[in-house]
Symmetry: C2
Subunit: 206 residues, 2 copies
DNA sequence: AAAATTATCTTGACGATGTAAAGATAGTGC
DNA sequence: GCACTATCTTTACATCGTCAAGATAATTTT
């Protein structure tokens, strides 16, 4: 049966043995799986099924589940940074407004992709020693330091960095986890304004 | 073999059929399992093994894995609040100092029991509709609101609550996840002072 | 005290999962 | 055309959560 050349191959490659770009397809499938099942319900076999491939196919590209989640986490960090940049574009070009906007982007990402946010910030499943993931995470940290430094003038103090990061991260984590329900219930414009206020607050000298 | 009365029963109840207080023993075992394996590696059979009991024994007391993790999360919230109260005891009785101390306790709990912290704040595995867990979580929220209100005078604004909670939570989450390494590397006294400063900062009017 | 009932725990089974090993298929270089 | 490598499938196994049935102990009832 399989020794014959595919009869319908010319018409339509129904299920070709070689996928073409399975690696990318698996990352896409993994994101869908993560969104559906959450970090704790994530299944490697589920990803394979979504990609229309045998359950052991992912191993060749990612090694194991951790490998796939590591690649997905790196992609997650890149999108995380991208969301912050997009939000900064909407704000005025003053350093303080840019910093506040990056905080707003931080929260927006967490609300738009809660599972991905949890994967990159509250999970042990990805391998954070991985170089690609490391680089992606450090790029996010770099953006933060850059914004704080630009706002404060001199090289950012550790107090300032910790205060700003913690405030933005806390807001993002609590909101995306469904806590702070009073804030979640606010109209978006009002909520955004409040987030900007709170991030700015983190910078004011005590 | 089992129809006979246990020969060594009088000397030492080696493995009595009935445990005595298996429910409590399982929660204790669950905490050990959680600390060892993390939220994502947590295994119900592993808990049973730790408690020296068959793999299906937990079902009778907790229904399923989620039931056990729900009970553990409730216990976690109670300890979380207790840690905050303990830390408040060490501080001066002024409202602001008390508020800052509760934030420090928040962080201390996250650093002392990272897995438990993650279970109660960054996991979908416990059932947060459960009454016992709900009550324990609301007690924690109540303490926060109480402290903010006492410090600000009038009933706390949503801005104040969100700012303080987010700051403390962000610090706790980032530090217990091993981020903010510069802060983790600081001597404890210095780090504590910094945490107090940052929490106070969250209250200063913009 | 004896019997019946209930609570507690064990055993055995099933499907789902992650991973390893071996085989099948397709593309690549010579 | 042929060897070689990359890619994917199939098979197998250990572990996990959960269910059902049975065994054992405690409690209640009579």
């Amino acid at each position: 049966m399989h020794s014959q050349s595919h009869p319908d191959k010319a018409i339509e490659p129904s299920t070709p043995y070689h996928h073409g770009d399975l690696r990318a397809a698996l990352i896409k499938a993994a994101e869908a799986e993560l969104t559906d099942k959450g970090v704790e319900g994530f299944s490697l076999r589920g990803c394979a099924k979504r990609a229309g491939v045998s359950h052991a196919a992912p191993a060749h590209h990612f090694g194991d589940t951790r490998g796939l989640l590591t690649a997905l986490a790196a992609e997650g960090f890149r999108r995380f940074v991208a969301t912050q940049y997009e939000t900064m574009t909407e704000a005025e070009p003053h350093p303080q407004a840019q910093l506040a906007a990056s905080g707003l982007g931080y929260v927006r990402f967490a609300l738009a992709r809660p599972a991905l946010f949890r994967l990159i910030f509250s999970s042990d499943r990805p391998n954070f020693d991985n170089e690609e993931l490391c680089n992606a995470a450090e790029a996010a940290y770099g953006l933060l330091v850059e914004n704080v430094t630009a706002t404060c003038g001199a090289p950012a103090t550790i107090d300032d960095i910790a205060a700003v990061w913690s405030t933005a991260h806390g807001l993002a984590d609590l909101l995306s986890a469904g806590r702070l329900k009073d804030v979640l219930a606010m109209p978006e414009a009002e909520r955004d304004a409040m987030i900007l206020r709170i991030v700015i607050r983190a910078l004011s000298p005590a």
